[in-house]
Amino acid sequence: MISEKQMELINREIDGVNSAAESEELKKIMAENPEAKAYYDSLEELSNKLGTLEDVEPSPHLTKHIMNSIPAPKTSRAEKKGFFKSLFSVPQYVFKPQYASVFAGGLVFGLVLFFVITSTINPTGIDLGDIAGTLISRDKKQDFENANSFKIHTSEAYGRVDFKQSKELVLVEINLRTNKELELLFEFDSFDISFNSFKQFQKKNNGLAINSRYVKFTNNGDNKYLFLFNSLTQNEKTFNFKMMSQGRTVMEKSISVKSQAK
């Protein structure tokens, strides 16, 4: 029979937190109580077995991933103090005609250059400007090449998924018709790909969920979707596509997209 106090002494001994006097007391208890001794031995064995598990090295890219996810450096406290100080300082402006004419000339030249450049760009490829929330500026065109595609043809769904890629992006175009609400999931390796933006053509509830490794949404009826992903590496990108009905997988497909040379 082991009392609660004896159990505590034994556990504390395993954790190395007993005082010298407590350790002595425990030795006497174990000499007189074989059950307590057996319990101590078994805990010690457990502790030794737990100690055999070795640490695993994280991916060598983990530090880079972590640092890439950190936003721009905080304004330092010294800079914050400087900012507040500057609010109370009175600026002094002196007008000098020769500088004014140089400034005006430069402004005109810059405007002319801007219009010349933008009017001579002959964009090709897909206009991403109307994809809601895109991080790509509206006037920047991307030359997309067809990369891969597959058809969806089940009793619940009919459609097509096309993958197109440019040097920096992967565009996934989904044309889909379902006869009930289905959940669709795209999984990908966050080392190679990150989510950029999304557009759906018919305004419907879609339960869109995004994290660093997947995008998930639901579809009921007819709709068309565009997903834009950033190409983070030159590696071949693999998307794992799943279509589920009430938690049951009705279709699963793995698709690879080879990188376009940068």
Partner: protein, 180 residues
């Protein structure tokens, strides 16, 4: 873990020095990752959790109290990230092929791997609360007080949870044929 050093690094981060934060990441990513790995048994998930834990640390650096150990504070944030993650998925998952073995000796590897795999499976059978105290005590060598601070529970509760988790873990391993 050098408390003085960590406080200095935090101060430099707050002054806008990203190199100081990178040093913190390099110093602590492995223990954070390993705790997350042992809680989730999935390498990818563990890396995601590690990433979001450090992001939270960065965002809340100004709230760090240098009177306490930075490592304990970091762990508290990591633990909350792990818990949030586990709540979003099923609490108990069988050991899968994402568990990595680091051993290269094929003979020892086989024996060690079997025992290591059994221990990992047994740990995964514990509820998250129980798993956490075992990991923090046996793998991160934290004191009862530090564990209490991380989990926001009294020291007395840490001890009773730890003692009963050990007992349960023992029973699982004996059930699996381990000699304890």
């Amino acid at each position: 873990m050098n408390k003085h050093n960590d406080s200095e690094l935090v101060k430099q981060c707050l002054d806008g020095d990203m190199k100081a934060f990178e040093e913190i990441v390099k110093k602590y990513q492995k223990p954070v990752f390993n705790t997350a790995l042992r809680m989730t048994n999935n390498r990818k998930d563990a890396e995601d959790i590690t990433q979001s834990a450090f992001l939270k640390v960065y965002e809340n650096l100004e709230s760090f109290n240098p009177d306490y150990k930075f490592f304990s504070w970091l762990y508290k944030i990591s633990y909350n990230e792990i818990l949030s993650f586990l709540k979003r998925r099923r609490p108990f998952e069988e050991l899968n092929n994402n568990t990595i073995s680091e051993d290269n000796n094929p003979v020892e590897k086989s024996e060690k791997n079997d025992e290591a795999a059994e221990i990992k499976k047994a740990i995964m059978k514990l509820k998250p609360d129980a798993r956490t105290v075992i990991l923090l005590r046996h793998y991160q060598n934290m004191s009862y007080k530090e564990i209490g601070m991380i989990l926001d529970i009294p020291e007395k509760t840490v001890k009773s949870r730890l003692y009963s988790s050990r007992q349960y873990l023992k029973e699982i391993l004996i059930d699996k044929g381990q000699n304890i």
